[in-house]
C-alpha cells in the first residue's frame, strides 16, 4: 500500500461530504452558502488536531464513515456521538488521536445526534471552489459526496494537536428546542399560526437533508393566500411551502425563495437542528429579536 498525505475512503456511509466554513458572499449570484451544518463541532474537530478554523473536515450522516490514512496523522471525531476505532480498537471521541501510517479509522453509526465531523491534521485539501472546499448538494459545487475508493489529499500540518484528552461538548437530548424570531413574513399567517408552531406537534421528517430540515406536523394557516415574489432567504429561515408544513433552511438552502418565511432560527440553535435525526420531536420557542421589541420602519 502506498503512503502519503491522503485519506482513502473505505466505507462512505449514508452521506459523507467535505465541509469547511462554506462560501458566503456569492448569494447574489445564486450560490448557496453551504459549509459544515454543526459549525461548533467542525471548529472543535479542527482545534483538536491543530488545524486552523478554515481547514476542511468530513461531515458524516447517521452511519459514519471508514477512512484509511496514508501517513501517520492526528484525527479527531466530534459532533454526533459515535464509537470511534483505529484498526478495530476503541479510541477517544472528541479527542485528538494519533494514528500510524496505513491505519483505518472507523466512525460507527451515531448513538446520539446525526452528523459527526472527522478532522485530520493538515485538513482535507481538495481544490477550493469560490474560496471553499465544501460540498454543496443543492448546486453541485465542490467535491462530490465521498465514494468508496476516493483519495482525498491532506494539507500541510499547521500546528500541534490540542493538549487535551477529551474536549467537553454539549449534550444532545431526545427532544430539540429551537428558538425562533418571527418574521419577515409572519404577517402572511393567521394570528393562531405562532401558537400552532410552538404547540410541540412537530417531528423531523425522513426527507430532511443538507438543504432543509423538513418537518411532519400541523400545517400553518395563511392569512394572505397569494404568491410571494421571490426574495432572499437566510440560513435558519423557517419557510412554509404551499402545503403548510414548515421547512428549516440549512446550509445548502436556495438563495431566494417564493414561499413566506414565518420566522428565523436563533443562530446558536443551528447546530441543534443539524444534529436532530429523523423522528426527533421539535419544539419551537418564539423569542424577541436582537433589540427589545420589533423594529419596523416605514417611509412614504
Amino acid at each position: 500500500m502506498s503512503t502519503g498525505r491522503f485519506v482513502e475512503v473505505v466505507r462512505s456511509g449514508a452521506l459523507s461530504t467535505v465541509q469547511d466554513l462554506g462560501r458566503p458572499g456569492h448569494a447574489h449570484l445564486g450560490v448557496p452558502r453551504s459549509g459544515a451544518l454543526d459549525r461548533p463541532a467542525h471548529l472543535l474537530a479542527n482545534r483538536l488536531v491543530g488545524n486552523p478554523a478554515d481547514a476542511a473536515t468530513i461531515e458524516t450522516t447517521i452511519t459514519g464513515v471508514s477512512l484509511r490514512v496514508g501517513q501517520a496523522a492526528t484525527v479527531a471525531v466530534t459532533g454526533a456521538w459515535a464509537p470511534v476505532t483505529v484498526n478495530g480498537r476503541p479510541v477517544g471521541w472528541s479527542a485528538p488521536v494519533s494514528v500510524p501510517a496505513g491505519a483505518r479509522v472507523d466512525v460507527a453509526t451515531a448513538k446520539r445526534g446525526l452528523r459527526s465531523y472527522v478532522a485530520f491534521s493538515g485538513g482535507i485539501a481538495v481544490a477550493a471552489v469560490l474560496g471553499s472546499r465544501s460540498t454543496d448538494l443543492l448546486s453541485g459545487l465542490g467535491p462530490s459526496p465521498l465514494a468508496v475508493g476516493d483519495r482525498l489529499p491532506l494539507g500541510e500540518v499547521a500546528g500541534p494537536p490540542a493538549p487535551v484528552d477529551v474536549a467537553p461538548t454539549g449534550t444532545l437530548t431526545e427532544e430539540t428546542t429551537l428558538r425562533v424570531t418571527l418574521g419577515p413574513r409572519a404577517d402572511w399567517f393567521t394570528d393562531d399560526a405562532p401558537g400552532i408552531l410552538t404547540g410541540a406537534g412537530y417531528r423531523v421528517s425522513m426527507l430532511s437533508n443538507r438543504v432543509g430540515m423538513r418537518l411532519e406536523g400541523p400545517a400553518l394557516p395563511r392569512r394572505i393566500g397569494g404568491e410571494l415574489r421571490s426574495e432572499g432567504v437566510v440560513l435558519g429561515a423557517v419557510q412554509v411551502p404551499a402545503a403548510g408544513t414548515p421547512v428549516i433552511f440549512l446550509a445548502d438552502h436556495p438563495t431566494v425563495g417564493g414561499y413566506p418565511v414565518i420566522g428565523v432560527l436563533h443562530p446558536d440553535d443551528l447546530p441543534l437542528a443539524a444534529q436532530a435525526a429523523p423522528g426527533t420531536p421539535i419544539r419551537f420557542q418564539i423569542v424577541e429579536g436582537a433589540r427589545k421589541g420589533p423594529f419596523l420602519y416605514r417611509k412614504r
Binding site: G25, L130, E231, G232
Partner: protein, 205 residues
C-alpha cells in the same frame, strides 16, 4: 420602503418598484466599500426586495436607511450579453398556442426585447430576466420536469431565464444555447449578474 428584521443578523428591505432595488444595492455597495456595513456577508436583491445578511447591528442600519432616498429610478446599465438561441424547445408548440402565433414566430417575439437581470437565484448563475411584454407572460408548467438540460432557454411568469446546469424545473422551454452561464474557474464566474442586459439572437434550429 419598509424594513423588516430577519432573524438577529439580517434585514429585508421592501421597495415600491424594481428600479429601486438596483439603486439600493448600489448604495449598499458604496457603504460597504467605505466600511460602513461591518459584518455584511451577502446583499441579495429580489424583485421588490433587498436582503442584507450578516449585519452586526441590523437596527442601526435600519435607522440609517430611513433617511435614504433612491437617487436613480432607472437602474444603471450593466454589460450587454448576447445569447445565441436555437428555438427548438420541448414547449415551443405549447407556447405558440398560448401566444396564438405560429411556432416560427416564438423566437422572433422572444428575441425582440432587451432584457435585464433583475436578480439571481434557484441555481448558481440563474438570472431572472425582465423585459418580456406582459401579454406574453405564461404560467409555469403544471407538472415540473425532473430534468431540464443545461442551456435551456425558458420562461415563466414575467421572467425569462436560462438553466445554467441540468436541474429539475417547471419553466416553459423555448430553445437552447451553448453559452456557459456559470463557470467557477472563470472570472467573473457568472455571466448574468443583477443589472446585466441580455439580448437573445435567433440562430435557427
Amino acid at each position: 420602503m419598509r424594513i423588516i428584521p430577519v432573524g438577529l443578523r439580517a434585514l429585508l428591505v421592501e421597495l415600491p418598484e424594481p428600479a429601486h432595488t438596483h439603486a439600493l444595492v448600489a448604495e449598499l455597495d458604496r457603504r460597504r466599500e467605505r466600511g460602513e456595513l461591518p459584518g455584511v456577508e451577502d446583499v441579495v436583491p429580489g424583485e421588490l426586495t433587498v436582503l442584507v445578511d450578516g449585519l452586526d447591528d441590523p437596527a442601526g442600519l435600519a435607522a440609517q436607511l430611513t433617511a435614504w432616498r433612491p437617487t436613480s429610478v432607472r437602474p444603471p446599465d450593466g454589460p450587454l450579453v448576447e445569447v445565441p438561441v436555437r428555438y427548438d424547445g420541448a414547449d415551443l408548440a405549447e407556447v405558440a398556442r398560448a401566444w396564438q402565433v405560429p411556432e416560427e414566430e416564438v423566437g422572433r417575439i422572444h428575441s425582440a426585447p432587451e432584457y435585464r437581470v433583475a436578480f439571481c437565484g434557484f441555481a448558481p448563475g440563474f438570472g431572472y430576466l425582465t423585459g418580456l411584454p406582459e401579454r406574453y407572460h405564461l404560467p409555469r408548467r403544471a407538472v415540473p420536469r425532473t430534468r431540464v438540460p443545461a442551456g435551456s432557454v425558458a420562461l415563466a411568469g414575467g421572467y425569462a431565464g436560462i438553466y445554467p446546469r441540468d436541474s429539475p424545473g417547471g419553466w416553459q422551454l423555448l430553445g437552447r444555447t451553448d453559452l456557459v452561464l456559470f463557470d467557477p474557474d472563470r472570472d467573473p464566474v457568472a455571466l448574468l449578474t443583477p443589472g446585466t442586459r441580455v439580448r437573445f439572437r435567433d440562430v435557427g434550429r
